[in-house]
């Protein structure tokens, strides 16, 4: 029972780390970025290449995955994304889904279509018994990293100067510019940060979720569920949503395997009926 809860929390945390970058771009920047999974995949492949080809420690791969994905995000934002901030949402959707397909084809070409596997350092594999609860070491690690990240993200957005500038830039671009905020810079940094988070999520998820060129399409639906249930205007909303969905998904598959896969969608529908704007919505936006 508690093992299932633990697994659910770990899975939820992983969903959060993958989706929270999307919360930043989609929610805070108001940009429909369906290519989010492509950045996550980039992070995953950075890890795979570093570990399997060069034998670099897993712990170094995590920051590297963040930085590389963030850089890719920055370059793409400056060259492509920035022209579409004012575009209708449909254009943004078409554009970003195009990026997804290009990313899939490129990955397939360079890395091959097969499933990529990494071998974790010994202290992260296996599991231990804590008062009768089976605790997977890697899952515990995931929970710790993700919880720390969620906290940091919340603090950055609510307490720092950068956070308030970002919120101002999103709410009213013209006024923010008038106040002397360098909106393009703020957006570029935010986008890079969101992409970096995705990359980190991809690096951490490679062990549990697997990694192949179809990663962005396979998990897009999960990111979108998390963000739509959680709402897009805060970080705590998607955090709670991811936890809830993770636990419900794992518990559903454990207790009622016949309909297990459907539980997560049923939950999403119920949540959206009860709170159409997400768990913590800022008014009726």
């Amino acid at each position: 029972m508690l093992t299932i809860l633990f697994d659910g929390i770990a899975y939820g945390m992983l969903l959060f780390i993958l989706a929270c970058g999307l919360t930043v771009t989609l929610g805070l920047m108001n940009f429909i970025n369906l290519a989010h999974g492509a950045f996550a995949m980039a992070g995953g492949y950075v890890t795979v290449v570093m570990m399997n080809r060069y034998g670099i420690s897993f712990y170094w791969c995590l920051p590297a995955a963040f930085i590389v994905s963030a850089l890719i995000g920055l370059v793409l934002e400056r060259t492509l994304y920035q022209w579409l901030y004012q575009a209708p949402h449909l254009d943004q959707v078409l554009f970003s889904i195009g990026i997804v397909f290009m990313a899939i084809a490129a990955t397939d070409y360079f890395m091959g279509g097969q499933q990529q596997l990494i071998n974790l350092p010994p202290e992260l594999s296996g599991r231990m018994d804590v008062f009768g609860v089976g605790v997977g070491r890697y899952r515990l690690f995931t929970i710790i990293v993700c919880a720390a990240l969620a906290l940091a993200l919340q603090l950055i957005l609510s307490k720092t100067r950068f956070g308030s500038r970002l919120r101002a830039a999103v709410d009213d671009r013209r006024v923010a510019m008038g106040l002397g905020i360098n909106v393009p810079l703020v957006f570029a940094l935010t986008f890079a940060f969101g992409s970096g988070l995705a990359g980190l999520g991809g690096a951490m998820g490679a062990e549990i979720l697997g990694l192949d060129p179809n990663f962005p399409l396979k998990f897009m639906i999960y990111f979108l569920i998390v963000v739509s249930v959680g709402g897009t205007s805060t970080v705590s909303g998607p955090f709670l949503a991811a936890l809830l969905l993770g636990i419900a998904d794992v518990a559903g598959k454990y207790y009622v395997p016949a309909i297990g896969p459907f539980v997560i969608y049923a939950l999403m529908i119920v949540m959206l009926i009860v709170r159409p704007n997400g768990l913590f919505s800022r008014g009726g936006r």
Binding site: D7, G113, G134, I208, K218, D249, A258
Partner: protein, 392 residues
Amino acid sequence: MLNRRMLIAAAGVALSCLAAIPAAAQETIKIGLILPMTGPFASTGRQVSAGAKTFMVMKGDTVAGKKIELVIRDDAGTADQTRRIAQELVVNDGAKVLAGFGLTPLAMAVAPVATQAKIPSVVMAAGTASITKASEYITRTSGTLPQYSLPVGTWAAANKIKKVVTLVSDYGPGIDAEKWFTKEFKAKGGEIVEAVRVPLANPDFAPFLQRVRDAKPDAVFVFLPSGAGSLFMKQFADRGLADAGIKLIATGDVTDDDILNSMGKPAIGTITGHFYATAHDSPENKAYVAAFKKANADMRPNFMSVGGFDGMALIYAALEKTKGDVTGPAFMAAVKGLSWTSPRGPVSIDPETRDIIQNIYMREVKDVNGELQNVEFQTFKDLKDPEKADAK
């Protein structure tokens, strides 16, 4: 003057030689190889095409006086594309034989084309039993899931395994595997504690594995397509199922030779049943593995590749028998009852079902000179597909 005349004569000779070459080359037989070369099943396509190409490297590109040409097309794993490409290959490109087909629905989509155009079609990968029933013109060189799930049941019952949980992917092949393992295992006195079906697009195996652990069986029987299989393997080890005394028995898809080596330690000790292992000990296989690695940049051949290799072997053998006649009825008549020695061991084509008859091996994953290999330890000889044998 003399010189000039000689020159003209020489030119004439040269010209007639040139003319003679295309005349011989016109006897080209095109084989349309339709495979998922991109998308989620790209590794299947890569392996099958690499196997087929290796055959042509080893045995040359002429048979019975005809030149063989492979035309490889990508269907990305979607059935409507497979069918469209099959039609194009037959109608526009004049392909005389179709081959490949990575997945069951893809092979099924081509069946009507094969029947209408009387085009022989060689299934090199897809493994659901019913495929060869879909058209008189379909034959197969891979294997069927019932064919290699059943012996795993026989083996389990004979090896002190009493209680088993089955865990399969929830689609055609998975259900085939579950059905035939269960049938055989129960008939031999075993008990199935629980039958778990995992959705095909499943990101995390944690809840299913926990369920298996809590059911406390002696073993868990698994079929998963090879990519998902490797993920499963890691989580199986991580969850400590092996430490809890639960054995992992599976079809060979789970310990696919293509990725087995990167699975690492967790895979060691897994017992699987299948028709081919890279480590199969025979001179034919040694030659095959060496040629394959040379032709394909050190890629490791898996069962898919040997399906492609034997598909070409079947086409060559049938053409030799018909003396180059590639029309549907003649070709299919030649196919029935063919037998040859494949890298996997002796194989033949069942004259009644056009499906392959072959040995199924029980294997254990072991570390052999620093590489993980499926090491065979028991052979079930000359098995037919039980599904069609049963239907009679």
